[in-house]
Symmetry: C2
Subunit: 446 residues, 2 copies
């Protein structure tokens, strides 16, 4: 039954688990604060004490609100990977490459376990790191890399492990969700809401990774790998951000019974030449009675649909030092318990290598919004393009001047049909001088 090691740990027969932390920003300080605040409880649950022995960061002197004088200091964080008094390296530096990756490789080379909150590094180099962990019989854990404090990596790795998942999707970026739900509440447009979000700390000074959907794509690629047993394929996540979404679109969606959310979605579809992985991040219209519709502010939520479990929802704070520290320390406790195994739920050699799916064949209802010149024939031109591309229109609204910048908006919802047809219709209108800007195309999730 191979349980003895776990139990011996739980019955307190083992020495403390010794932690080396690289990166002492808000999350690193949060981890230290958490380990202190809940020390006894954590020792009881882990079956052994968890002790920070060494730390590394850019500036040693900086005030972080936590006392680090009791920990050994390394100017070169990579050295944490070879310290004799470190069992597990906690990487909280960030960045897909550079120091974080160098440290992670050093940790495995030094026979340490690795806990990281670094979604970019896991999305880009997760397979390499998992192979190194596998080869060394070492721990690689990254609960904090996806959806902050929500235990969704464990939820898929342990909770739905008996299931063939049919679909994994959700709201994985708190910044975008804050912006979209604030636009919803205030009627304000994207630009001013972003500025407000930055002022309130919900968006970074350079928000590109968030608002362009890259951050959500990192997390989606990780969830898809665990959920479907496929190799990480971040490069093929089709990603659209929220920059083009206007207050007028949110108002139209509301009138039609929908909200707009940035949805990250992955599933496996059978193409002519076998199963393919479809991974997409894009703003969608979400029906108001869908479990993801009420998810507002910086909250994250993940839906996993299994062939036996049915539809499961995991929801909670998607970021913040407290929730992220909670996920990091949960991983440390797992390691202390001896609950260590394949980071992506099965050995790397058994992960399937699927190519990217061609989404064109999918049937969807779609919301389209055009900004047009107010002159005769424009509607005829648009509707003709729809007809020629075999797109069936369910409803159409033309919104006259007084909308954004006095432009005329034409918004429509299509009947369910192949995505490719909608793309074709937009193509047919490409370059038309009736249009004053790029059309917005949002799929509808009911």
């Amino acid at each position: 039954m191979q349980t003895t090691t776990n139990w011996s740990a739980l019955l307190g027969n083992t020495s403390p688990l010794r932690i080396g932390i690289a990166g002492l920003g808000t999350v690193g300080a949060g981890v230290i604060r958490l380990l202190e605040t809940n020390r006894e409880l954590i020792a009881a649950r882990a079956g052994r004490a968890i002790e920070v022995t060494a730390v590394s960061a850019r500036e040693r002197g900086k005030d972080r609100g936590v006392d680090i004088s009791g920990f050994a200091w390394e100017d070169d964080m990579t050295a944490l990977g070879s310290r004799q008094d470190v069992d597990v390296v906690v990487e909280l530096v960030g960045g897909s490459d550079g120091p974080a990756l160098t440290l992670s490789r050093a940790a495995f080379a030094g026979g340490k376990g690795l806990v990281t909150a670094n979604k970019a590094m896991v999305a880009h180099h997760g397979l390499e790191l998992a192979k190194a962990a596998e080869a060394g019989g070492l721990a690689l854990k990254f609960e904090a890399a996806v959806a902050g404090g929500i235990p969704v990596v464990k939820g898929l790795r342990e909770g739905t492990s008996a299931n063939q998942l049919t679909k994994v999707y959700g709201i994985l970026n708190g910044t975008c969700n804050y912006i979209l739900t604030t636009m919803e509440a205030t009627g304000a447009d994207f630009a001013e809401t972003l500025v407000e979000a930055q002022a309130l700390g919900y968006a970074e000074a350079d928000p590109t990774f968030d608002i362009e959907g890259v951050d959500a794509a990192h997390k989606l690629a990780i969830l898809a790998t665990i959920g479907f047993g496929v190799e990480l394929d971040f490069a093929n996540v089709v990603t659209t951000g929220i920059v083009a979404v206007r207050a007028a679109d949110i108002a139209q969606a509301d009138a039609l019974g929908f909200v707009i959310r940035l949805i990250a979605e992955a599933d496996v579809q059978q193409d002519a030449d076998g199963p393919k992985l479809l991974q997409r991040v894009r703003p969608c219209l979400v029906a108001k009675n869908h479990p993801l519709a009420p998810v507002d502010g910086p909250t994250n939520a993940v839906v996993a649909e299994g062939n036996f479990s049915g539809r499961l929802l995991f929801q909670g704070p998607g970021a913040g030092d407290g929730p992220t520290a909670s996920a990091v320390v949960a991983d440390i406790i797992d390691i202390a318990r001896g609950d260590v195994g394949a980071p992506f739920s099965m050995p790397i050699a058994q992960l399937a290598s699927l190519g990217p799916a061609q989404p064109g064949g999918r049937m969807e209802r779609t919301y389209l919004r055009f900004t047009v010149n107010d002159r005769p024939g424009v509607l005829a031109e648009i509707t003709a393009a729809m007809r020629d591309a075999n797109v069936s229109i369910e409803s159409l609204i033309q919104k006259g001047r007084g909308g954004d910048d006095g432009e005329v908006l034409v918004a429509m919802v299509t009947h369910e049909g192949p995505e490719a047809n909608v793309a074709r219709a937009v193509e047919l209108l490409d370059g038309s001088d009736s249009l004053t800007g790029e059309p917005l195309v949002l799929p509808i999730i009911a």
Copy 2:
């Protein structure tokens, strides 16, 4: 790092994990179907094959839609605990005592791991069973005992393990939630809705355990033990069912911006003589913007609030053979992986033994509904009782004849105040011939 056993399992160096299943009802058949349907996937994730070797049930010949001819048969299920070809016993018989408990004891006596879906047995005998598992270094897992397919036992045991939980609460009984949300949708009263639920299979022929809140109390006691690190104390769960909830109450709640849900809730409060455990199951008014409000039909949902994680929500199907089998097999996979440890997240010896809390001191807003005789002075009598008990009334509605059975209903919402005052007010009215029935008192969750 104690990871080698896990990895050796994951790298396929181990023999199959051999399962003996007791109880072949819909869940037992579901487990066999799941192990067959997802066989390869499960072997990859478990790191080894999982084989059913022996089964036991009441009737051998019965058609269950699955082929059991390949498994050894035991007429006496207790014998599964001593078979040499069984590593893990799966108990799907049910009942807090009797055969299920006898089998579980036999399993540990025989050095087997135990996976059970039996909430009643775990709520009543979980400590004894966990001690036996601990003593033998054996697995005891019961994900399926709480909230069907939702991995909330793992969610609290592994997901929030770094946190001091402040509160665990949720919707833990699908039958009650189906009835209440159906009453909400149809306006029908309790009795007829129950009959309909029975016809549709959402309520059992004898629904007592469900509608009286006992089933939810079993689950709550288990979650409280894991979440707070306290000894199981099912006996002290204060339980009120949904039988007294009328269509008129749901209509009043709706008018006030609330829905009515059966809420199971546990927390630890500091009483004069130290920390005490408060466990309650009762119908509550839930604000429509609360994450539990949209939870309808047989769906379950659990909210866990941690001191670092913040508020986490776990939601999904609360029952059914598929979701329950998904939870049972997830436990089996954990055992195959070697992820085995303290069933209640810490060793039994370290669970705190708290007495039950006195709820009277809690501050709550409350909904009260009286059925009264339509005659002068009744309102004066009720409002005088409120005044004398120091209960401050926020709003009051008298609903004349034409309501249920032509009775007169008086419904009110109080300002936030001590629960004890409301109880006192109801006491003052006890025996008054103005009242035609027991008052209904529902706390408000905002």
